[in-house]
Structure formats: structure tokens, C-alpha cells
């Protein structure tokens, strides 16, 4: 232990700052009561901005590891943290007006969000299997509570409970897998595990790997560990669903990449087939499951399952290009999905929120702004060129093909065809059907988020993608150096 505390602290500065600020906000909230919810939300946003800024500032020091390698700060981690902060920040911003209107405004909500972000930050920086577990648990516990946030609603409570029980099961699987890996290698930090595995590979390790992958697959809601997703997405309050759909997915996927290509990169033969299977099943379940849905939140749940399948294609390639594709895919997906949920939050009639897909009929006549934004986003998520979603898909497909995963790529391409059906059905409903009862005017933050997100998906603004691609490339290379 030659590292001084100061060095450790410098590397962990973003997380330390976030933890301290979160505690501070919690105390402030307790003192000021629920009236302060809006203030706390804004302070939470400021905290996230500070977190991202500190993470970026850490870049100047180069890559480093703190606490005996448990916390790694490299370009990959920084990239992931910035995206997570953006995703979490936007969804917290979206939640504010909803929570006010639904009389759910509590100061705990942004605090819980920050705790989840702290967990995610630890996940993407993890350099040790204990840190992996801690990060995941911190994140998950916060999310369970958020899912059940509307205590008085049966659906919300049910969603929270289901999420919690199944999440506990998956944590158990993960922990069991990690302990098997520890048993096989006698080490907890990634470097030592890799070194030990280079000596000898055992069946114990293989089984441990499968269990660990299963636990992680649950977090990204990859099929067949996806069963919780539709129920939780539907039951949780909409802003919570938006939160769940955005940042945690990205964090879990980043962790997935870090674990698999980091210490276990040499054993791609072991895990590649597993990831290919997960990706294929996810795409199949996602696109076919979505066909039969009539609730837009459930639809988005299946859509997210399918999208995780596409992202896993990049991971299945196991190459630097693959991870690059994964990061690009997840970033674009995150931005689009926030926009979609902003549109869903705009689906409010005088007598409350509506969630049926048919309620969108004729939206182009009643609310053209949201109609255009949602159509753009749908076309983008469907992966039609020249929208941003197409570029995202292009990268993961290319990576998969380069890695020789032709069968998976063909299957995934067929999946996009089926998937296009339900995305286009929404566009058709919006533009060609008789208008249903109109929605009330959405709040400004909701509308702006929807427009902004749609704008990023719009082909002319595809320029934003080039810096994204280069940054993701740098982040991906950090894992392979």
C-alpha cells in the first residue's frame, strides 16, 4: 500500500464529491421537507454537472487506479460517466413537472437518483469484482425504491416488488458467479484474475462466468433474463421508467464490456457464444414481443430488450470496434429513449395520463410539435437511414461482421425488419389516423427535451455523431491498451 490517500482521493474525486453532495442534499431535504423537492432537484442536476466536470477534469491526469485497483479512472470510465450524468440529469429534469402534477413530489426522489448514479459510476470504474458487486447493489437498491415510488399505487408497488425480488435473485446469481471466479483464481482484482487464469483455466471458472454473465444480463434486461422489464416499465411512474431505461442500461452495458474484455478478454471463446445467444434471443423476444403490445410503456420495454440485443452484438464481436460500436449504440439509444419518454410524458389529457398506443392517433393534428419529434425518434430507433439510429446500428453490424458473426448479423437484420413494423405503426397512427382526443399542452422541459432529442436523431444534425464516434473510439481503446 504505497499509494497515499491523496492520490487515491484525486482519482476517486468524482465519486467522493457525488457521495458527499448526495448526503448533503439528503440532510437539506430532511430539514426543509417536501416543499424543497424542486430545489433539491435542481441542486441534484448541479451535482451531476459537477460530477461530470470532475470526471472530465480527471482526464488530464491520465488513467489511474485507486484503492488497490478497485476504482479505475480511464477514458472508458470518463466517457461512460459523462453519458450517465447526461442521461440521469435529463430524466430527473423530466420527472419534476410530472411529480408535481401527480402529487408525488418528494425530496427523496432526486437523492435516490443521485445514489443510483453513484452506483453506476462505481460500476463503470470497477477494477475489482467486489467493486463490481458494490456498484451494482448501490444502483439497484436505489432503483427498486424509485420503481415503487408511488406507494399508493398498486401497480407501482407491484412493479417495485417484482423488480426487487427478481433483482435480488440476479444479484445472488452474480455473487455466486463472482465467488466461483474467486475460488478458481484466488483473486478479486481484474489484473490478478487475468494473471491467474493465464496459468490455468478450470470448469469452475467457466460456470462462474456463466453465472456472472447471467447476473449482468438481468441488469441490461437481455433475454431470457428480461421477464421483469415489461411489468416494471409499465408499473413504475413514467419518469422512473425513463430513468430506468436510460442511464442504468448504459452503465450495466459498460460494466459488461469492462468485465468481459478486461480480465476475461483472453477467454473470448468461453463467453462469445453466450453473448451471441443472449443477443439473438433478445432481438427475437424484443421485436416479436413488441408486436402484441398496446401500452406504449410496455412497447418501449420490449423495444429496449431488442435494442440491448443489438448492443450486445457489438460486445459479442469482442473487438475494439465492437466495444466502440457498443458505446455509440448505447449513447444514441440513450438520447433517443429519453426523447421518446419525454413524448410519452406529454401524453396527458385533462383527466390524467394516458398510455395506450391508440391514444396517439392523429397526434399530428392535435399536437404537431410532439408528433414530429416522436415520428423522428421512431424512425431513428427503427434504424432507418439517414437517422442517427441507423448509424448506431451500422457500427454494431460492421463490428459483428468483422468478427465473423454472420449468422447473428443476418438474424439481427431480419429483426430490424420486424421491429420496423411497430415503430412505423406509431408513425402511421400519428399522421394518418383520425385524431383522438387531444393532449393538454406539455410543460416546457418535456417539450424541449423531446425536440432536442429528436433534433439529435435528425439527419442534418448527424454531425454531432462524429465527435461522439471519435470519443467512443478513444474510450474503447482504453479497454484494450
Amino acid at each position: 500500500m504505497t499509494e497515499s490517500f491523496a492520490v487515491n482521493f484525486a482519482i476517486a474525486a468524482p465519486e467522493v464529491f457525488l457521495a458527499v453532495a448526495t448526503m448533503g442534499l439528503l440532510v437539506a431535504g430532511v430539514i426543509m421537507g417536501d416543499k424543497s423537492a424542486r430545489l433539491i432537484t435542481w441542486l441534484a442536476l448541479a451535482t451531476l454537472a459537477g460530477y461530470a466536470a470532475l470526471a472530465l477534469a480527471g482526464l488530464a491526469n491520465g488513467a489511474g487506479a485507486a484503492f488497490s485497483g478497485a476504482l479505475v479512472a480511464d477514458r472508458f470510465a470518463v466517457f461512460a460517466k459523462v453519458v450517465i450524468a447526461i442521461g440521469a440529469g435529463l430524466t430527473l429534469l423530466l420527472s419534476d413537472s410530472f411529480m408535481q402534477k401527480e402529487k408525488l413530489s418528494r425530496f427523496e426522489f432526486p437523492v435516490l437518483g443521485l445514489l443510483a448514479v453513484l452506483g453506476m459510476g462505481m460500476m463503470v470504474s470497477a477494477g475489482d469484482i467486489i467493486a463490481v458487486y458494490m456498484g451494482i447493489e448501490l444502483q439497484s437498491l436505489a432503483l427498486y425504491v424509485m420503481a415503487a415510488f408511488n406507494r399508493d399505487s398498486l401497480r407501482s408497488s407491484e412493479a417495485g416488488l417484482k423488480y426487487f425480488v427478481l433483482g435480488a435473485l440476479s444479484s445472488g446469481l452474480l455473487l455466486y458467479g463472482l465467488s466461483l471466479i474467486f475460488g478458481a483464481t484466488g483473486a478479486t482484482d481484474f489484473d490478478s484474475i487475468a494473471a491467474a487464469l493465464a496459468q490455468e483455466e478450470s470448469l469452475m471458472f467457466t460456470i462462474g462466468l456463466v453465472f456472472a454473465i447471467s447476473g449482468l444480463a438481468f441488469k441490461v434486461s437481455a433475454a431470457p433474463f428480461h421477464m421483469w422489464t415489461p411489468d416494471v416499465y409499465e408499473g413504475a411512474p413514467t419518469p422512473v421508467t425513463a430513468f430506468l431505461a436510460a442511464a442504468p442500461k448504459f452503465a450495466a452495458m459498460a460494466l459488461f464490456a469492462r468485465v468481459l474484455v478486461g480480465p476475461f478478454g483472453e477467454f473470448i471463446g468461453d463467453w462469445q457464444q453466450v453473448i451471441v445467444a443472449l443477443a439473438g434471443i433478445s432481438i427475437g423476444v424484443g421485436v416479436f414481443g413488441a408486436l402484441a403490445q398496446s401500452n406504449i410503456k410496455r412497447l418501449m420495454a420490449y423495444s429496449s430488450i431488442a435494442n440491448m440485443g443489438y448492443a450486445l452484438m457489438g460486445l459479442a464481436a469482442g473487438t475494439q470496434n465492437g466495444v466502440n460500436g457498443l458505446l455509440i449504440y448505447m449513447t444514441i439509444y440513450l438520447l433517443s429513449v429519453i426523447g421518446v419518454f419525454a413524448c410519452i410524458l406529454a401524453m396527458r389529457r385533462k383527466d390524467g395520463m394516458v398510455e395506450q398506443i391508440d391514444d396517439l392517433a392523429g397526434l399530428s393534428q392535435t399536437n404537431p410539435g410532439i408528433a414530429v419529434a416522436l415520428s423522428m425518434l421512431m424512425l431513428s430507433v427503427a434504424g432507418l437511414p439517414p437517422f442517427a439510429g441507423f448509424i448506431a446500428k451500422l457500427y454494431v453490424f460492421m463490428a459483428a461482421l468483422d468478427a465473423g458473426l454472420v449468422l447473428l448479423a443476418v438474424f439481427a437484420a431480419l429483426g430490424t425488419v420486424v421491429g420496423a413494423f411497430y415503430y412505423l405503426r406509431i408513425v402511421k397512427l400519428i399522421w394518418f389516423d383520425e385524431p383522438a382526443q387531444g393532449f393538454v399542452r406539455p410543460g416546457r422541459t418535456v417539450a424541449y427535451t423531446a425536440f432536442g432529442s429528436a433534433a439529435l436523431a435528425f439527419p442534418i444534425l448527424v454531425v454531432f455523431i462524429f465527435p461522439l464516434i471519435s470519443q467512443a473510439g478513444a474510450a474503447a481503446s482504453a479497454l484494450f491498451s
Binding site: 427478481l166 456463466v210 447471467s214 431470457p224 411489468d231 468461453d270 414481443g289 403490445q293
Partner: protein, 713 residues
């Protein structure tokens, strides 16, 4: 500066198009017009700077595609050729903008109109400043789109809509050829940059490629495909059908797009690719033949039309034919020169017709006009100037004459010179087609003037009495164009085709053909080379086009051989006797255009001033020749019977049998049914029971672990 020239109109179009609701019609009109005028002013300077000072440059704005070897960027290539086009486009465009202030003053959608006009201008500028084929294609499609929008501007008029669609579809045929040409270029040359392609042309001479399962010379096929694109855009024979119908658009549009600028894009393309066409003798011959046919054929139709704008439209078609056969014979300077002068007098004629139509409350039928010179004398005067310029009035052997005199005679004489030097039958055909077309041009042009402005008024009397001269905002552009129509020829004769030609065009156009008679030192060698070309040409011709040009190319080859030896001496002696650049042809050739023009004029005087009864009787009796011409050689009917109905029949077959029964039955519908049932089965799995979910997860873990263990053995 060049960025302002090109992007100014785009900015104007965007402002007028997107913000019209906020800024209002007037502001939209002013902004677009001022931006285009600014662009025109800068273009004039650019023209001077590039063509006479010699500051050629290429500016790269941004990368566009960068996929392996396929690289293209947004850039501006400013050389003499594009500078000439810049001036023509921006100049005519700004005059048309100004003119439209008056012409469109009652239209409720003025802002949209101006926005489209500016958008068109931008696309056209992108086209002419392109540095590679991709950007050229972008501009090409952009002007096509703007043309479609503007033809169909009065979208409530069904004829306007169908004309717009016709224009678009016909152009699509040409564009398909063009796109194939670009692909072929990339395939053969590995680049689509102009410089890169042109530099390799010599090396690719004789390179063969496969197309439609047959082997051809690569350059021939590329040149031919590019020419198909040019045919569509420039309304050449076979693909000309859209241009007359395009007159459904507002008249300023006809003047800008369908006379002065867009339709000349094809000529521009051929001239821009002159290095390729120089190396592709058969394709060049095809260009010349099609051009000659168009010049003649459109002129014959022009004689029998009654709609004032259609007459001018067919005249445009015919003049484009002149430009093409000039380009096909290697007279690129003359082609561009005619393009340049034509822009002035044809825009003038269109805008003048617009003024007449405006005065008569949208009456376009010349049979209902007459005697107009009394009520609209200024319009009469400018139309007269336009007609004099179009028919090419001037005194041969001197430097006195209207714009068309210089450019058209340069083409006709050039064609004769090529025919005399190489014995090419194509050139001979082109020469005679040019002469006959000049006769017809003169006839129908004066017919238009006499029917419109002279004699008794045949339309409703109250319209005639209420007719009034157009407002100054419309007359101003007409007067400016009239000045151009008078002087443009005399002023620019020397740089475009005369002595100063080489210093003017420099590298932007290739004059390799013997036809240009420029550099006599290599003349003999060139003839040898020409003979060599023709050898290939005859082979290629047999392969490619079989009967049509095969014979011609054969004779060409034989004669070129025969002339190979004596050619050098012959050409050299001929050259010594000559004083000015292109005019080394017998005197009778110099006078021929003049004489036929005079004949046409006298014919028109006889039929329409002295004996106006005769043509009317011919028209009413409906003789076969008249109805043949009046119905435009029955091209529309022919296309309708073959392509439209044929395509529809084929489509029906594919649709009813192929698609509905076979493809849909087994494909989409069958698959969709399977998908639907699969989806509902899948959602039934989603029971909502926690223990089911947990079970699925555990089964999955066990299954994966088991599979992996089995796989690893």
C-alpha cells in the same frame, strides 16, 4: 467570395421558405432578390478575375463521403467554364427575380415562389462549381427538384401537376443513365474527381469493360451514359417531351429554368467532360447526330404550334440541339458561346412573351392575338430584338450583328470546317441540319412576331382595349436582356471562339480534336491520331451501335486514312491563308445562314402578313404534314402507347400475378401471419407471476451453463 455567390441564394431560399410566415411576402421577395443580385455582382467580378486575370482555384468546403477509395467533398472549382456559367446563372436569375416582382404581384404564394427560385439558383450553382461527379449529381438532382416544384407551382391546376410529373419522370430516365455513368467512372478510374479522371483518360484509351453482358470500350460507354443524362436534362430528341409541357409553370420560371440555365446543364456536362468525349469518338458522333436531329426536328414542330410559349419552348429545344452537335463535333468553345448568348435572347423572348401574356390577361394562344405593337410598343421592341438575335441576323464577314449571329454562325461554320477537314459525314449532316434549322428558326420566329404583334386583333376586343404595357419592374430586366442580346455576341466572340480562345479557356476545356484548327504544328500528327481513333471507332461502332453509326464511322476511318498523309500539308496551307480564328471556310458557307434566315423571314412575311389566309386554311384543313407537326411528330402518343401503357401492363402483370399471388402469398403475408401468432404466444408467456419469471431465469442459467460445458467437452 465564392461562398457568398453559391450559398447566398440558399440562404435566401431558406429565409423565404421557412420564415415566410413571420417576415411576410414583401420581405421574403426583397431578401431573396437582393441576395441573388449580390451573387450576380460578385459573379461578374469572379468572371473577370478568372477568365481574364487567370486566378483559377478550387476551394474545398467539407468532406462528404470518405468510404475507402470512394471520396468526395463539397467544393468549388472555379475555372473559366464555371465562371461563364456563374455569370449566366446568377445574372439571368437576378433579372428573373426582379421581373417576378411584377409578374407574380397578384399571386398569394409569392414567398414560396421566390424561395423556389432561389433554391433553384443555389442548386444550379452547386452544379456548375462542382469539382467531382458526386457534387455535380447533387446539383443535377437539385435543379431537377426545383424544376419540378416550379412547374407544378400552381398545384391546383391539374395540367401543371401532370406536366411537373412528366418532367420529373423523363428526367429520371436521363438521371439513371447519368448515375450509371458515374458508377462506371468510379469503376474504371477509381475516383470521381474531375482532375483525377481526366488525367487518366489517355491511359484508359482502349480499355474495355463489360456492360449488359457485352464488351465495350470503357470510355465510349461512360461518355454515352453521361450523354443520356445530358439528353434528359437538356431535352434532346427522345427525351425532349417534357420541355414543352413544362411551360405550364409561371413564365419567369420558363425563362430561368427552361431556357437560360437548367436545360443547358447537359451542354455544360458534355463540355466539362470534354476530355472524356474527346477520347470517345463514337459517343461524340452520337452526341452530334442527336443534337443535329433535335435542332431540325424541334424547329419543324415550332412552325405549327399556336401557344406562344410553346413556340419559344421548341425553339429552345432546337437551339440546344445546335449546342449539342457543336459539342459533339468538338467545338466546345462554340457550344459554350451559343449557350452564353442564347441565355440572353431566350430569356428575353420568354420574359417578353410573359409580358404579352400578362397584358392580355393570361391569353397564350397566338390565334387570339394580333396587332399588339400599338398597345405594348416596348415589349414589341424587345421581342423584335430577341427575334433578331435568335435568328442570328448580322452581316457575314464583318463584326456587325446580333448575339445569335456570332454564336450560331460559329457553330454552323465550325461544322462545315470539320466536315471539310475530316470528311466526317456526321459533321456534314450536322452542317446541313444546322442550315435547315436556321431557315425554320427564322420562319417560326417571325411567324410568332407577326401573329402576335401585327395584323388585326383576333381575340376578345375588350382584352385588347384593356391591354397595357407591363410595369417598369418587368420592363427593366427586359431592357437589360435586350442589351445583352444585341452586344453579347460581338463583345465575347474573340475570347469564346476567336483568337483569344486559348488564353480564355485554358485548362477548363480540352480541344484535342482536329476540328479546332488551333495549333497547326501538331496538326498532321493529330490527323494521324485521328485516323487511329477512327480505326477503333469503327470497331467499337460495330460492337456498340451496330447499324446507326457503324457505317459512318467506317467511312470516317477510311477517309481519315486517306487524308492522313496529305492532311498535314493541306491543313497547314489552309491555315496560312486564314486571318481570323474560325472563319476559314468558303464564302458561300459564310453567307448560307444569312440567306436562309432571309428566306425564312420572307416566307413568314408572305404567309402571315401578306396572305394570312393560307396558313389558316392549312391549319383548318388539317393536312397530314400539318397535323404531324402540330402533334409534335406524335411523340407523346407513341410514348403513351409503348412506354406508359406497356409499363402499366407489365406492372399489372407483376402486381396481380407476381406480387399478390406469389410474393405476398408466400412472403410478407405468410410471414406476417406467422409473426403475429408468434408474438401473441410470446406475450402469453408473460404471465405476471413472479415465480414464473424466476423459473425462466434459472432455467436459462442452467441451460447456458450446460450448453457451454457440453460444447467445451
Amino acid at each position: 467570395m465564392y461562398a457568398i455567390i453559391v450559398f447566398g441564394p440558399l440562404l435566401g431560399a431558406a429565409i423565404a421558405g421557412l420564415l415566410q410566415r413571420y417576415i411576410g411576402d414583401r420581405a421574403a421577395m426583397w431578401i431573396t432578390t437582393l441576395l441573388v443580385c449580390l451573387s450576380a455582382g460578385l459573379s461578374l467580378y469572379a468572371f473577370y478575375d478568372v477568365a481574364f486575370v487567370g486566378n483559377e482555384l478550387t476551394i474545398e468546403i467539407a468532406r462528404w463521403f470518405d468510404i475507402g477509395a470512394f471520396q468526395t467533398s463539397w467544393s468549388m472549382r472555379i475555372d473559366t467554364l464555371s465562371a461563364v456559367m456563374l455569370v449566366v446563372v446568377t445574372f439571368v436569375s437576378s433579372l428573373v427575380h426582379i421581373y417576378s416582382f411584377g409578374y407574380m404581384s397578384h399571386d398569394p404564394h409569392r414567398a414560396r415562389f421566390f424561395s423556389y427560385l432561389s433554391l433553384f439558383t443555389f442548386a444550379m450553382l452547386m452544379l456548375v462549381t462542382a469539382n467531382d461527379f458526386m457534387q455535380l449529381f447533387f446539383g443535377w438532382e437539385g435543379v431537377g427538384l426545383a424544376s419540378y416544384l416550379l412547374i407544378g407551382f400552381w398545384y391546383k391546376k391539374p395540367t401543371a401537376n401532370s406536366a411537373a410529373i412528366k418532367a420529373f419522370v423523363t428526367n429520371r430516365v436521363g438521371d439513371f443513365g447519368f448515375a450509371l455513368g458515374i458508377m462506371a467512372i468510379f469503376l474504371i478510374f477509381g475516383t470521381i474527381q474531375f482532375d483525377g479522371v481526366f488525367a487518366q483518360v489517355a491511359a484508359m484509351q482502349g480499355q474495355a469493360t463489360e456492360f449488359l453482358g457485352m464488351r465495350f470500350y470503357a470510355l465510349e460507354i461512360i461518355a454515352f451514359l453521361l450523354f443520356i443524362g445530358a439528353m434528359g436534362k437538356s431535352a434532346q430528341f427522345f427525351l425532349h417531351v417534357w420541355l414543352p409541357d413544362a411551360m405550364e409553370g409561371p413564365t419567369p420560371v420558363s425563362a430561368l429554368i427552361h431556357a437560360a440555365t437548367m436545360v443547358t446543364a447537359g451542354v455544360f456536362l458534355v463540355v466539362r467532360c470534354s476530355p472524356i468525349f474527346e477520347a470517345a469518338p463514337v459517343a461524340s458522333a452520337i452526341v452530334a447526330v442527336i443534337g443535329a436531329i433535335t435542332a431540325f426536328f424541334a424547329a419543324t414542330i415550332g412552325m405549327a404550334q399556336n401557344d406562344i410559349k410553346r413556340v419559344v419552348a421548341y425553339s429552345t429545344c432546337s437551339q440546344l440541339g445546335y449546342m449539342f452537335f457543336a459539342a459533339g463535333l468538338g467545338l466546345y468553345g462554340a457550344a459554350m458561346f451559343h449557350l452564353f448568348t442564347h441565355a440572353f435572347f431566350k430569356a428575353l423572348l420568354f420574359l417578353g412573351s410573359g409580358s404579352v401574356i400578362h397584358a392580355l390577361h393570361d391569353e397564350q394562344d397566338m390565334r387570339k392575338m394580333g396587332g399588339m405593337w400599338k398597345v405594348i410598343p416596348w415589349t414589341y421592341a424587345v421581342m423584335l430584338i430577341g427575334t433578331l438575335a435568335l435568328t442570328g441576323v448580322g452581316i457575314p464577314g464583318t463584326k456587325l450583328g446580333f448575339a445569335g449571329f456570332f454564336s450560331k454562325d460559329a457553330i454552323i461554320e465550325g461544322a462545315f470546317a470539320v466536315a471539310a477537314d475530316t470528311g466526317s459525314q456526321v459533321a456534314t449532316l450536322a452542317f446541313w441540319a444546322g442550315v435547315v434549322a436556321a431557315l425554320l428558326t427564322s420562319f417560326y420566329s417571325w411567324r410568332l412576331i407577326f401573329m402576335t404583334f401585327h395584323g388585326k386583333h383576333r381575340g376578345p376586343q375588350e382584352h385588347f382595349e384593356k391591354a397595357h404595357e407591363s410595369p417598369p419592374v418587368m420592363m427593366g430586366p427586359l431592357l437589360i436582356l435586350a442589351v445583352g442580346a444585341v452586344f453579347a455576341g460581338a463583345l465575347f466572340y474573340s475570347p469564346f471562339v476567336g483568337d483569344a480562345k486559348d488564353g480564355f479557356w485554358r485548362e477548363s476545356v480540352t480541344f484535342a480534336s482536329a476540328a479546332t484548327h488551333g495549333e497547326e504544328a501538331e496538326h498532321g500528327e493529330e490527323l494521324h491520331a485521328e485516323a487511329g481513333h477512327s480505326d477503333e471507332a469503327s470497331e467499337t461502332a460495330e460492337n456498340v451501335t451496330g447499324q446507326l453509326t457503324g457505317d459512318e464511322a467506317d467511312t470516317e476511318a477510311a477517309e481519315a486514312h486517306a487524308e492522313g498523309g496529305e492532311g498535314a500539308a493541306h491543313a497547314a496551307s489552309e491555315e496560312h491563308g486564314e486571318e481570323h480564328g474560325g472563319h476559314h471556310v468558303p464564302t458561300w458557307v459564310l453567307w448560307t445562314p444569312f440567306v436562309v434566315t432571309l428566306l425564312g423571314f420572307l416566307g413568314a412575311v408572305f404567309f402571315y402578313l401578306m396572305r394570312p389566309g393560307i396558313p389558316r386554311r392549312i391549319g383548318e384543313s388539317g393536312g397530314p404534314l400539318h397535323s404531324f407537326l402540330y402533334n409534335k411528330w406524335f411523340f407523346d402518343e407513341l410514348y403513351n402507347a409503348t412506354f406508359v401503357r406497356g409499363a402499366r401492363g407489365l406492372g399489372d402483370l407483376f402486381w396481380k400475378v407476381g406480387d399478390v399471388r406469389i410474393v405476398d402469398g408466400l412472403g410478407p403475408n405468410g410471414v406476417a401471419r406467422a409473426v403475429r401468432s408468434g408474438a401473441s404466444r410470446l406475450s402469453r408467456l408473460q404471465t405476471g407471476y413472479l415465480y414464473h419469471y424466476a423459473l425462466v431465469m434459472l432455467i436459462a442459467v442452467v441451460a447456458i451453463a450446460g450448453a457451454l460445458i457440453v460444447l467445451k467437452g
